[in-house]
Symmetry: C2
Subunit: 391 residues, 2 copies
């Protein structure tokens, strides 16, 4: 196991009606003037935004609003948020929504006290200072509610890139699984896929002897395999929603990823798809993951065989472990299809003619130096080959 | 799943030679005058204490020392520590040692700013204020390095009781698995047993539909089953030590215990044994656990059968799930014996004649009202019956 530090000081408030306590926690963590950041209609339509505002008012907290965050959140709104916060002397950012809203809020939080262009952070500069941030989550997916990460798309060039830094961890996160019951099934399934991807990206490691984090990841994957179909069958199943919500946070707060190299190839390759076609991140991952795992299969056959046996319930073929490893990938593919995810370029709305462009952007775009992948180093030709597996 | 809050803001510094950074983290978390609290010879003999002092000196931090913590730490030393801290105007407590040292340090940290008797906290008062505390751990066992809990034995009456409160979570914890390589095998095995107990105590729940935390617990148990024997075979196995160390922390920081009722019967029943005979807590648990689980077996046969199948690799007997559940308990018993733990009263040094007294203390001692157990409510007669199963 590699040396590491781990620090996850987010206060989680989990359960029914917890959004009504938002104001209390903003106050506890030092906020007095709040930016409420959100997306579009659903938080308004369901009355969630009103309940959150009421809880702020009950604590005599001032606030301004900035809605309009869209999936694959854009740099333009981040700049607008930074300007607004400076003008209104905002001292606390509150994200009400899903991963896109939280990521946009994190970018604003980092940008407000920073003299330079916030995009510097999305080109590798570590975020060491940010306004305090709280979240009220409305979908189990990104894990951004407990993570130190944010992903933003820069409109100029359509680069989708990530930033990281302990200062980006939310001070608190309100998690009411009931808020996710109104999600369309497709979005629920995208969230399940994203959570599985966060687990796969950590599972694919070159660090030896990481049984503890392996077992934690496997446990969280098994949770998704058990609870995912339950919630697809019955969207009102609070208990299944609750299990998925906690698993989604645990999958990405990195307690199951410490001390080991990680992959993030599938995310990098997917980001090009969602930047290019504006498809849902989870849907993109559903198409990308089986292709990446198949392409990298021979790098460590026994690791994928272990996953196939322990998580997907495959029989180990001791004479031919590669067969078992492949069986595990097929089981993942079938699972994703069963919850309604797309299985190829066509279903995603992607086009073969763009492959070269995306592969180039993935390996060279916005300052990159020719490769991607933490598990297997891949060049542009490899990435093109992987995209072709998705046709 | 029940509503809950979860907040674990401990900064973990994990890996080789990390003890040399102790001073840096004391400073980061606001300490200027430190109480170094430790046990006996080993931290002196191995040079650890010197390395820690050197790291404090490098940051120009003042310190005083209080050694002499013993297993099953006592209230007497806590009172001494509180007096010393007040006299020396200590503003940070540093525990260098195992669970006993950390628990004693927590009691001192809570006691210093408190006007009343610190023992109030061990009779149910929640700790809401304490001096900041850091730890350098030397054994994987108690999980106190990441928990909000502390257990102390009151010399008057020999009551062993626990306190809790978010203020007790360490600000930072230094985790160098190499420091545990010099432990005697018996102590290593006691630690493994304690970690397993923390997982069982959370697994035995009356809350339905807790797949996520079930799976996390199972994953951590499987880690112990895999890594425990490796470290017993080769005490110098750093990798196995590292996996056990992270599992021990995760087992008890409660991320795998949220939103569900927990048990803690085995701990309550064991505490009487270690208070009476001063045996090692882990050794006591090894004798207690199979007895408690057997006694409570019929309360929820399928829960124990699930554990037997998923963790102990038993075949499910669908015609007779009770047989499977029992098989799981037997597998636990065999595992504990295999790592050198005692299996009955005699091997523990306990005596049948004390059973009534211990059962009475467990149910009525120090303000208790006649029952124990979070999973099955047990009266004095039940507890006596359980002790008799250990003969």
């Amino acid at each position: 196991m590699d040396n590491f530090t781990f620090y996850a000081p987010t206060y989680f408030v989990f359960g029914k009606a917890t959004e009504n306590e938002t104001g209390k926690y903003v106050k506890r963590f030092g906020g007095s003037k709040v930016l409420i950041h959100y997306g579009g209609g659903s938080v308004v339509r369901t009355g969630l935004l009103d309940r959150v505002k009421k809880s702020l008012e009950a604590e005599n907290l001032g606030y301004v609003e900035l809605g309009g965050v869209r999936p694959n959140p854009r740099s333009g709104l981040v700049y607008e948020g930074i300007r607004l916060c400076r003008k209104e002397k905002v001292d606390f950012i509150l994200a009400v929504g899903g991963g896109s809203t939280i990521d946009s809020a994190k970018a604003i939080a980092a940008g407000v006290p920073y003299d330079g262009d916030f995009w510097d952070y999305y080109q590798g500069r570590v975020v060491e200072e940010a306004l305090p941030l709280g979240t009220v989550i409305t979908i189990s997916a990104a894990g951004s509610e407990g993570s130190a990460d944010s992903v933003i798309t820069k409109e100029e060039g359509m680069y989708k890139r990530g930033a990281t830094g302990e200062a980006l961890r939310p001070k608190f996160t309100i998690m009411n699984p009931a808020l996710t019951q109104t999600l369309p099934p497709y979005q629920t399934a995208c969230g399940i896929t994203d959570i599985l991807a966060h687990l796969y990206e950590r599972y694919l490691t070159n660090t030896k002897d990481v049984e503890c984090t392996d077992r934690m990841i496997e446990g969280l994957m098994l949770t998704m395999l058990h609870e995912g179909p339950r919630v697809m069958e019955n969207p009102d199943n609070y208990e299944a929603r609750a299990n998925i919500m906690w698993a989604g946070m645990m999958a990405h707060n990195n307690s199951c990823g410490v001390g080991r190299s990680q992959d993030w190839t599938s995310h990098d390759i997917e980001h090009e798809l969602s930047a290019m076609y504006d498809c849902a991140h989870g849907a993109g991952l559903a198409v990308v993951m089986p292709a990446v795992f198949t392409y990298n299969l021979k790098h460590d056959v026994l690791r994928l065989a272990q996953l196939a046996v322990r998580v997907w319930g495959c029989q180990m073929d001791f004479g031919n472990p590669e067969r078992t490893a492949k069986e595990g990938i097929e089981a993942l593919r079938r699972f994703l299809i069963s919850i309604g995810m797309p299985k190829n370029f066509g279903e995603l709305g992607a086009q073969e003619k763009d492959i070269e462009k995306m592969a180039h952007s993935c390996c060279y775009g916005d300052g990159r130096t020719g490769t991607t992948g933490g598990y297997v180093s891949l060049n542009q030709q490899d990435v093109e080959n992987i995209y072709r597996l998705m046709l």
